[in-house]
Symmetry: C2
Subunit: 637 residues, 2 copies
């Protein structure tokens, strides 16, 4: 039916095989002005051409004189010196005339006339003089070969008379987006169109790593077009990256194009994501087929394209920093692949905890949210919750320590809080995972989160949240930070075409419902009402279809994949839906008492009570914030 | 006689006072294409405008079908499906037609005819489908305000339909070099000229920190010219940096220019280096007078200019990383100033050691060599050797750990070794401090260095180096790595105009000698010969004048500051001097046995034995490398 992957190399073996075949990279050097050298890498050692200072100069403001003339001067025996006979006035940096050998600073002079001073201290030869070459001596090494130039190096090189330096040329990196389904950002979107964002990510990665990105036009899935694009790019560029077209799908012409034009050395590596990578050589240039899925692409770029650019720049990559962290959830892994798992880190109490993010290769947001990467070697089946693991960092440790971890129920206002906290403080972050109210309670109990937004109705008392905390986290001192009252209801398309009014409507098999995940407060709300009405969940079309956020449910309805779902008013309005209210509920934030004194939590509290936040709630609609920021100690009630 | 500093504010007080007066910075924002956003800072939260995927799409290559049609399929009960009736073929990313609700992947299909497949597993609704918004849901927060954009953010924003973003405008930073003595790099140099390199360093610092540097022509020390340059720059730029002209010297017009055009808020801060800084406001723009000395300028740029740029970008600076290190030498400090001391770090054994670099404000090389900064607060007199101190890092910890520390005698070939080691490995560095052979022995004894180049003649045995190690480091297992035999002699100007032939010539008072520092092998060689000839050191003109390297001695002779000095052949040749040989000596490298197995030491050994190194020695001249790389265990002899 279609091609299968040619190989399933182990990652390092594949890379070694490929780079061996590639041989020594043919790097070019160029001469540039020293002052344009920031971030460039020296191709030759830089030795100073002149000394700095290049003459003996005064280190002070004062007078240059001859030390012999000062011998015997003391507090009791002032010696008078005459300008132009015994001394000349010098400023810092001025040359010392040959006949003088020291400088007396202005603070140690007593002016006795227009051209006369008295001194009360003898001077030592060479005092307050910067001798020639004090800073840099001619012929001295300033920076070695293969040195990445910093601002201070530029200063020393120019001071050393070096105005031109030899650096490695930045490699030109060709980027060819392929795929009939690809459209440029901003083009009108049809179903089946995919916006080409990968090539723009590659461009900024290449830029960041020191290459020059050269993006080509999108190439359709046509063998001849792909072949001619690869041919052209391999002539114009030092490195060629071809995006997409490397799945095993029908449209896979890239591998044949590489084989026909040169050598396809590797096709398929036992890593996940990133498996369908191709590494080839055309026209003596490295050609990399980058998988189309953005997360696969990210890792292949990071592992292979970056290394190629570094080779051209003779720049040895730094190993990323790592931290040890405790896994909050079991992470399963395929025995067949070396897996790279994006991880969200939190610093809770005094330890790092790590939770796996979405594993999907298409999840660009998992890259935005990731703080680091957990590698699980081939032949390892997975890792249990509680395991101490090594995480390669993508974020600074200080940023992780400044992040409020928020695990629990979803509401669009969490995004608002996250934005306002960072905007107002510039320093603190709020990172949220939407696992439902019960998931939040569990995370709080297990010390995997700082805060847990929850909305859990106690059926017996009609009270929200508190009884759940007492029941599930009896041994911890927990507070409730009051947040908002919000309206839950049915989200339906505009004008409510199916005339859905209450839960009984869901019994109609032709009405497609979209549900929330188990453990979410909204799911509990549904189940509570179904039970009250004696409606069997299995009789509801779409009861099994689970989404993780109010917005995702609203999106399914807006797209006509479902006819209704349960969620908050603001999500319905954001998606242009109609809304049938069902009830009001209390959406609050549970937090361990011990974190209440942390500065970032205090900042969060002030956002919660701010006029700016209330204005945003009014804009979203459906929120009552009259108690926002009020703190209730659960123990004392 | 001239201005004195107006104030001696404590650093933080000065900054607080100034930024308070400055008030809220008037930052501008601009709209840019999302794909041009790398490194820019968001001025607004970025919410997705569309979902991604924006339609229900296949997560696999295979067929889209209706799950109901697959119910009952098993290994024993294959179900046949007909193309276009029961299914359509889909590739990864293809849309799912409305009538279907699942995808069966190609690996699970048995092709039974041109348009038929059999399946042996029932499908679950929504399996292998990426529902609309799986990655990004419309209206979801992608990145908050004040976020520095990374490549992955660009991908997610474009995927979320955001093609234009609002970011803070990069501030335009005017840089005005002032000083009648300043000349452009490359101009012919007269005595008294100073090459303007500071403004180029500022440009690259501004660039690195996210501003746009705008350098103005050099302005002479003329009040009206300076005033008009400041006036113009304050109109054209967001921040103005004026270099030099901020000493208390005659040429100090900058402070008056600022006062006359606006407000000079601070003039003088109790820090060292950096004391004569000015902070003013002209035309509502911050105007900073940066001291002329490059090291002072560096710290003022880092402390104040960087902060101003960050303000325009709403970017909160990260605190630099720090390490704890043991001071190898006492560091004295003035009670009057908060001092910033550049430090060289080494990782010796399993701990960091820190040595202060040259304290001179003019020492650009001390910035090139520095790995970090030690801050000594005002009112602290100094710190003793052995103190554990906190160092703010300028270098990566991994680079420090990959650095061979080399303390001891100087020879120009140390620069060659340093360059070749880094060039060949890309990874390892050699950093050298020139404190003489005896200084090297002490550093080795105290575990402050990995290697110590030495050339110490035992007067009794005529043997080099070994007896000194036995005597001074009796309790450590030390090796000698043989390096070179080199020729020592008198360096004199071309044609030897004063006809210097041997040590007796130094008795002539009119002959100006330039000496090496105490503890250097070359100084010991001189003293040994003077003693043998019964020449009194105090009768030698210039015996007191000490330089730290062969090159510095050669530079003094070349500049006619001295008539002769003692040093190696290669230094004389590099400086275009004549050379009168005195003796051959063995210049070797002493090292603790325990470091011999470190990979970086092994790399150094292979450089020492390489053809490339020998070729360079031949080029320099005066070296015999027949034993280079041979290892002698001092204990066994």
């Amino acid at each position: 039916m279609q091609n299968v992957y040619l190989s399933n190399y182990e990652l390092n073996e594949a890379i070694d095989t490929y780079f061996e075949r590639l041989g020594t990279i043919n790097k070019s050097t160029e001469k540039i002005n020293t002052w344009d050298g920031l971030g460039r890498v020296t191709a030759q050692p830089v030795y100073s051409l002149i000394s700095s200072p290049h003459y003996n100069s005064s280190a002070m403001d004062g007078i240059a004189t001859l030390s012999e003339k000062t011998f015997g001067a003391s507090e009791r025996n002032h010696i008078e010196l005459i300008e132009n006979k015994d001394y000349v006035v010098v400023d810092t940096g001025d040359p010392i005339p040959k006949e003088f050998d020291c400088v007396i600073m202005v603070e140690d002079l007593i002016r006795t006339g227009k051209n006369k001073v008295k001194i009360y201290n003898a001077a030592i030869p060479w005092q307050n003089i910067r001798p020639i070459g004090e800073d840099i001596v001619e012929s001295q090494l300033i920076v070695p070969t293969n040195h990445k130039i910093r601002p201070v190096d530029i200063g020393a090189m120019i001071a050393g008379g070096v105005n031109e330096i030899s650096v490695y040329k930045k490699p030109m990196v060709g980027i060819i987006p392929t795929g009939t389904e690809l459209v440029e950002p901003g083009a009108p979107l049809k179903v089946g169109d995919i916006i080409d964002f990968n090539s723009r990510v590659f461009m900024s990665q290449v830029d960041e790593w020191g290459g020059i990105p050269k993006r080509y036009e999108i190439v359709k899935d046509d063998y001849d077009e792909i072949k001619s694009a690869v041919k052209r790019a391999s002539k114009e560029c030092d490195i060629v990256l071809i995006n997409a077209g490397s799945s095993a799908g029908r449209e896979d012409y890239t591998s044949s194009a590489i084989s026909d034009l040169g050598d396809l050395i590797i096709h398929g590596v036992a890593i996940k994501p990133g498996k369908p990578v191709m590494m080839g050589i055309v026209n003596n240039k490295p050609i990399i087929g980058i998988p189309g899925y953005p997360v696969s692409a990210y890792f292949i770029m990071d592992i292979i394209a970056k290394r190629l650019i570094n080779e051209y720049l003779s720049y040895k990559a730094q190993m990323p920093s790592t931290v040890m962290a405790t896994l909050t959830r079991r992470v399963m892994s395929s025995l067949k692949y070396h897996e790279f798992v994006r991880m969200k880190l939190g610093y809770i109490g005094d330890k790092f905890v790590a939770a796996p993010l979405s594993r999907g290769a298409g999840a660009t947001m998992s890259l935005v949210k990731a703080d680091g990467v957990l590698e699980i070697p081939q032949h390892v089946e997975g890792l249990e919750a509680g395991t101490e693991v090594k995480i390669s960092l993508m974020t600074k440790v200080s940023d992780i320590k400044n992040t409020i971890v928020c695990i629990g129920s979803h509401d669009p206002i969490i995004d608002t809080l996250s934005d306002m906290l960072h905007k107002n403080t510039g320093k603190y972050f709020l990172s949220s995972a939407h696992v439902g109210s019960m998931g939040g309670i569990t995370a709080l109990k297990n010390e995997e989160t700082h805060i847990a937004p929850i909305h859990l109705l106690d059926m017996d008392t009609g009270e929200y949240n508190i009884s759940y905390i007492k029941k599930y986290i009896p041994d911890k001192d927990i507070c409730i930070i009051k947040c908002v009252k919000r309206i839950q209801g049915f989200m339906v398309r505009k004008e409510n075409p199916l005339n859905i009014k209450d839960f009984t409507a869901l019994q109609d098999k032709s009405i497609r419902f979209v549900n929330r995940q188990r453990g979410s407060g909204t799911r509990l709300l549904l189940d509570y009402n179904l039970k009250k009405l004696n409606i069997e969940p299995r009789n509801i079309t779409g009861y099994q279809r689970e989404e993780f956020t109010h917005l995702a449910v609203a999106a399914a309805v807006a797209n006509d994949d479902a006819d209704c779902g349960l969620g908050v008013y603001s999500a319905a309005i954001l998606m242009g839906l109609d809304f049938i209210p069902v009830c009001n509920e209390e959406y609050d934030i549970a937090i361990s008492q011990e974190y209440m004194e942390q500065p970032m939590i205090k900042e969060l509290l002030s956002v919660l009570k701010s006029r700016e936040f209330f204005d945003k709630l009014d804009e979203l609609g459906g929120y009552d914030y009259s108690e926002a920021g009020k703190i209730i100690d659960v123990e004392r009630g």
